[in-house]
């Protein structure tokens, strides 16, 4: 009989309006490195949060059997004392504190009410040696590179007597040398009877390091298969990741693309925090009037960064590139200039970037174009009310009054308010970043209908989405992004999920096939 350390049975986790996990079952053998892969939103992170107690026992359905007995974790502390430690994609170190202090954060070694610094330091030194870091444990974490920080995180996990280590996309911020280093350590740990679960969608890494792969899709387990002799069937993984039936219905739409009205050439943007790291690499694309163009890419591909840098250099440091609107080159240095040139951007994070949640629907609807309701020096509040009522009717915003505060609205209606706000600027080019994230099916359909309506009015529409079916159902043309580069463009007729996924993870043959398209 196999030695199973962890079994998660029929895990179902429901967020209001969304079934994030739908009966996921997974079993992990002791001493394995078990990879979990899936699209954005497939439920990988949620599953790990259930396992580590971030989503406490009782907030999900199903059973967790760990080392032979059922677990009911209510918080991270409980899961950690059982030896399950999760290392998140965004590292959670405190940069101003030393390595030692970070390792023992929350688990300080205390003698007579005071922290025993000497003992902590000694233990930290040992832990650092175990993860192969040759550093003074008194070094402040801010002086460490990302790779080193990751190793410190693992050292921290070891200090908690870890039996099952969960790594959430551990290599997403690492370079090749650091990645190799990390993998070496993982193999090391494997020899010491520590089991690893690794979330990743990098196929080459999965092939290199893991013993077993489980693919998740739409909150369900699709299949689990072992990696034999460092070989994985990439096609099989891709098919599992995307191979859902098109169960979502999209409103029928026939685009009538006109001439090209929006062009971006040779667009390069640098990461504002990491000098030298390019988040957009020589991107070229165009959109026709009345056309809906999609942008696909996995997390970290630079989709949002590209759009926000185009929208008045709201993100990053501009390096080079040009924007042409209706064939005329324009200089856009601020958001208000972007608005003036007829560009609208609906951000992906509605609550933090799209809305002032404590404002009323009425004021929000006109907030990006106050000029339109200004008469002389003063705002014309009657015009404002008329405009808001008109938007409410046209977009079907469900609220008892336009004076209601936007945070009393449901997610779908909030999103409609954001759309209303930007329609009021009368844009020619409308960029929608994850327009239907976190809203229910009915509201999605309505938003999609709105988008089609905008295209019919002759606007150039750009949709950025993590949901491939949404892009395939809505767009006339789809660009794919990988690590800041546009890796290809497909027409609706030739695109399918597998092709797109191949271009999004940039397997070589897909890239060379589509290079011609970029230049076309």
């Amino acid at each position: 009989m196999e030695d199973i350390i962890l079994q998660m049975q029929d895990i179902t986790k429901v967020f209001p309006g969304v079934r994030a996990l739908d009966g996921v079952t997974i079993s992990v053998r002791r001493g394995d490195i078990h990879a979990i892969c899936g699209e954005n939103g497939a439920g990988k992170s949620t599953l790990m949060k259930v396992l580590s107690g971030i989503h406490p026992y009782g907030s999900y359905e199903g059973k967790i059997i760990y080392m032979g007995s059922e677990m009911t974790f209510k918080n991270i502390k409980e899961s950690e004392s059982a030896g399950i430690v999760i290392i998140h994609q965004e590292l959670t170190m405190i940069p101003e504190l030393s390595i030692t202090e970070n390792i023992f954060m929350g688990n300080e070694i205390v003698r007579r009410g005071l922290i025993d610094r000497e003992k902590q330091r000694r233990l930290a030194q040992e832990l650092l040696e175990r993860v192969g870091l040759n550093l003074d444990p008194n070094t402040q974490v801010k002086h460490l590179g990302v790779g080193q920080q990751q190793l410190v995180e693992i050292a921290k996990a070891l200090s908690k007597n870890v039996k099952l280590l969960i790594l959430d996309e551990p290599t997403s911020a690492l370079n090749e040398a650091d990645t190799a280093n990390l993998f070496k350590l993982m193999r090391d740990l494997k020899g010491k009877d520590i089991t690893c679960i690794m979330i990743s969608h990098k196929l080459n890494e999965i092939a290199e390091i893991s013993d077993v792969v489980t693919v998740l899709r739409d909150g369900r387990t699709v299949e689990t298969f072992s990696v034999e002799k460092g070989q994985v069937d990439e096609k099989r993984i891709i098919r599992s990741m995307v191979g859902r039936s098109m169960e979502n219905r999209y409103p029928p739409h026939e685009s009538k693309p006109g001439e090209v009205i929006f062009e971006v050439d040779n667009w390069c943007v640098e990461d504002p925090n990491i000098p030298g790291r390019m988040v957009c690499k020589r991107s070229n694309f165009y959109v026709r009037a009345g056309e809906i163009v999609g942008f696909a890419g996995l997390m970290g591909a630079g989709r949002t960064e590209l759009m926000r840098s185009i929208f008045g250099q709201n993100y990053g440091s501009f390096i080079c590139g040009s924007i042409k609107i209706r064939g005329k080159q324009v200089k856009i240095n601020s958001v208000s200039e972007a608005i003036k040139h007829g560009i609208a951007y609906i951000p992906e994070d509605r609550k933090n970037f799209g809305l002032n949640l404590i404002d009323s629907v009425r004021k929000t609807c006109v907030s990006a174009n106050l000029k339109a309701i200004t008469r002389g020096w003063l705002l014309d509040l009657d015009k404002e009310r008329q405009a808001a009522e008109k938007q409410r009717e046209e977009l079907g915003i469900k609220t008892y009054s336009v004076d209601a505060c936007v945070n009393t609205l449901s997610g779908g209606n909030q999103q409609k308010v954001v759309v209303a706000k930007w329609m009021f600027t009368e844009p020619d080019v409308l960029i929608l970043d994850e327009p239907t994230r976190g809203i229910d099916v009915g509201a999605k359909y309505e938003i999609h209908r709105l988008i089609n309506g905008l295209a019919d009015q002759g606007k150039a529409v750009i949709i950025v989405s993590s949901e491939l079916p949404e892009l395939l159902g809505m767009c006339d043309r789809i660009y794919t992004l990988f690590e800041g580069s546009i890796t290809g463009a497909l027409d609706r007729s030739e695109a399918d999920q597998e092709k797109l996924m191949q271009m999004m993870i940039n397997t070589q043959d897909a890239y060379s096939n589509t290079c011609a398209d970029i230049n076309a």
Partner: protein, 412 residues
């Protein structure tokens, strides 16, 4: 209940504080045996607190953008001193000196706004620095001695409106102002009703409007009578009039201009404001500049009261101004608060001061009580907002329709 709601209109939420204020005045009046509601006490109440309320107007805007200004007392003292000195040393006419004082305030505000807008230094820090810089500055330039100011400033600081025309036993200027106020209110109410009818295409009932006009008319009439029936030669105080004009102007700025909307947008969600094309830096800069400008004005009004500028003028004013804003229901995190509510908050503080003083309560215990009132007001406000329930008035008059329940999905 429904009728009451119709009369009060939709924005009755802000009436909680007004009710508290009126209750406070009535309680103190009874406790002191009628010493509170007298013409001379009301005149003092207004001219003795006008400078703090002027500060509170600016402070409201600063707090709405999510900042704080600790330097206003020092800036007020500094501007007043510069005015007094420039009048004395260079023999300038009073109004030139006053303009110089205001200019000094504007420059001080530009200085503090610059650090906030350009380098994103929190207002708390820049104005803490400013508090020391300008306080030190006052003492330095005055050599720690009070400086007499031009006599004419008395009008601004403690003056009364002239009396003219037939002898009615009342101050005719005040009566005229009162009548103008009633006329303006009547016109605005009727105009509003016409607008609503035009917008909705439905007939609005006339009676709530009329009841409102009569009620408010009576209140204004009573206040007018109170202020005009004092000793001969007294009237509605000039500093009070300056305050009323400022409140009207700033109410319009905050509620009816693009700049006003930008203030609330920046305070409510800075990132969203930026992505809506709001120039956040400019908004920060202008708000801080305006604050110090109003501080200088407050300083000049205060100098006018005693016709002398002292080295310690303005000490501690920032705290009174901040307290007024928060008692008036502004949010510590920014984005919420109005000029009118701030004035009510400021009056609550002023009436507390005044009533306790008339009761013979010492300054020490007055301070303690004011502290508790501030805390209670903010706790009350936070408690109400936290659980998403309406204010007490909101619960007394439940909304006509149920609000749709927010449903929110956040898959990881």
């Amino acid at each position: 209940m429904k009728h009451l709601k119709q009369i009060l209109g939709t924005e009755f939420r802000q009436f909680t504080m007004v009710i508290a204020l009126v209750a406070l005045i009535i309680i103190f009046n009874i406790a002191t045996g009628g010493k509170v509601v007298t013409p001379s006490n009301f005149q003092n109440l207004l001219s003795g607190n006008a400078y703090v309320l002027v500060l509170a107007v600016g402070m409201l805007m600063v707090i709405v953008i999510g900042q704080i200004d600790l330097s206003v007392g020092s800036v007020a003292g500094f501007a007043g001193m510069v005015m007094a000195l420039s009048a004395r040393e260079f023999n300038l006419p009073w109004w030139v000196a006053a303009l110089i004082g205001l200019a000094v305030g504007a420059i001080a505000g530009a200085w503090q706004g610059f650090w906030l807008a350009r380098f994103n230094i929190p207002g708390f820090i820049t104005t803490l620095g400013g508090m020391m810089i300008f306080r030190g500055g006052v003492i330095w330039i005055s050599k720690s001695i009070s400086v007499p100011a031009p006599e004419e400033l008395k009008i601004i600081g403690a003056g009364y409106l002239p009396d003219w025309g037939p002898n009615t036993g009342l101050n005719n200027s005040t009566v005229l102002l009162g009548l103008l106020a009633i006329a303006a209110f009547t016109w605005s109410q009727l105009h509003k009703r016409r607008r609503i009818e035009k917008l909705s295409g439905k007939k609005e009932p006339l009676w709530p409007v009329l009841v409102r006009i009569v009620l408010v008319g009576l209140v204004i009439g009573y206040i007018t009578w109170l202020y005009s029936s004092g000793r001969p030669g007294t009237s509605f105080p000039v500093p009070g009039l300056i305050l009323v004009v400022l409140v009207i102007i700033y109410h319009i700025i905050t509620q009816r201009t693009r700049f006003g909307r930008h203030i609330y947008a920046v305070g409510g969600n800075k990132s969203a404001a930026t992505l809506s094309g709001v120039n956040v830096r400019r908004t920060y800069f202008l708000t801080m500049l305006n604050m110090s400008f109003l501080a200088a004005l407050a300083g000049i009004i205060f100098v006018g009261r005693s016709v002398a500028a002292g080295p310690s003028d303005g000490t501690g004013w920032e705290l009174d101004a901040i307290a007024s804003v928060f008692i008036g229901g502004a949010a510590v995190s920014g984005g919420i608060g109005t000029v009118i509510a701030t004035m009510v908050g400021g009056m609550v503080m002023a009436v507390l001061n005044n009533g306790l003083q008339l009761l013979g309560v010492g300054a020490d215990r007055t301070q303690v009580i004011k502290g508790f009132v501030l805390l209670a007001a903010v706790v009350f406000d936070v408690y109400n907002k936290q659980r998403g329930r309406g204010s007490i008035t909101g619960r007394l008059f439940p909304a006509k329709q149920e609000q749709p329940k927010p449903t929110e999905g956040t898959p990881a």
